[in-house]
Amino acid sequence: MRSNFVFQEIWVGLRRNLTMTVALVVVVAISLSLLGTGLLFVKQVDSTRTYWQSKVQISVYLCTADSANSACKGAVTPAQQAQLQQTLTSMPQVENVAYVSQAQAYALFKQDFSNDQSYVSTVKESDMPPSFEVKLRNPEADYQIVSSAVSGAPGVDSVIDEETILTKFYRLLDGARNAVVVVALILIVAAILLVANTIRLSAFNRRRETGIMRLVGASNFYIQLPFLLEGVLAGLLGWVLSAALLIGVKSLLLNNLQQYFSYNVGLSASDLVEVIVLAMCVGVLLCGVTSFLTLRRYLRV
């Protein structure tokens, strides 16, 4: 096997139909980065979910002096508060109950909105309701039972299931992910067709060479290898571009999204590397297999 001969042939092939090659590289790059973005979204949703699952699941907000809720008759009394705590801790579904005072709630609020000082300045400590943060053993099944046990009880302003808020957020991410994956799949089909076409053109452009190679007894492998590598090389170039795009998506889009929703669940660099490596496998396999199948049709013995 004469490697420099093979590489020379690949170079000639890629250069001869430069426009097709560029189109191919770009389409592969975009489809791989969309696919990768979809995977990043999946990872983001997963890690967000596990993050929140380990946190509070139900917040029982207590009445303050100026609650808007008509069920509240003035601020919650220490007796009511003690009664509620007793009720909650005694329920078998509840894992633990934590009391968050107004001062603590205000501190948390200031921390969460630290990037929006003007908003923080409009809220006073007394506006923040104290709450019981309840952690459930089995949030999906037991939410209703615990919720109905305390809602409407004296001193309770409202009961909020964190899950219902998060579900909206998840739905948003899931939707974005699905859209991205669908577009990625369409583009992958386009990439496959483009690879097939590029290889076909390349084979046609070099039919003279391949005809002579067949006549003088070059092995099929030797005849096909430059074409195959041509496809794989285009796939690799596309992958390199897509890796750059994915790093951009991660550092610009996802990190900003994270800041916007002010939660602190970043994707690690290893997640990104994993997605990029996967994209490479998909790209190389896609181009290699398509080239191989096309060649079987156009370069017969």
């Binding site: 002579i212 006549l215 003088v216 007894g217 070059a218 092995s219 030797y222 005849i223």
Partner: protein, 229 residues
Amino acid sequence: MINFDNVTKIYPNQNRAALENVDLAVNKGEFVFLVGPSGSGKSTFLRLILKEERPSEGRIHVAGKDLARLTNWNVPKLRRRIGCVFQDFRLLPNKNVYQNVAFALEVIGKPRRFIRRVVPEVIDLVGLEGKHERMPDELSGGEQQRVAMARAFVNRPMILLADEPTGNIDPATSIGIMKVLDRINRTGTTVVMATHDAAIVDSMRKRVIELEYGKVVRDQVRGVYGQAY
């Protein structure tokens, strides 16, 4: 060297056989002319030897190998023992004389040192010494055909197939081409040449096989082109 055993070839969607019950043998070192009008089956005969086509009936042996039993994997090995020359030369226009000849060895993975030694020898043999650097479009038709012959012969095949090698070349130049073919034949290579060129066939006085409508109508040891049968 080449054995046709009652070979019939019918192309798909055609009712007439391209070759019909062809039964002949070409021995090692022979020089054979294949004559006959267009469509008489000369090219089919050559393509069958290369296993570019498969016979509809009958058996073909080339260089001791039964072609029907030859796997696709081994077809390239067969073709390495057969050289081919065509009417239209089939040179690579972007390679010079040396590169065109060397190409045949490069693509079957011969070492570079071997190529550097063998290619100039063959270029000399076909009478193109000193023209290594010329591009095909700088050569005359006769010279281009010599390059093609050098390429066909550079791997020292056992058989050389020539499909109307003088078809595009004037008679005076054709004589030079025939001399090269004769020289190649004298090295022990079996040569099968399909041709329309009566003058050449008559002057060489070699074995002549005449085909007509796919049948062998004449097979003479020291024949001429147009002899009645």
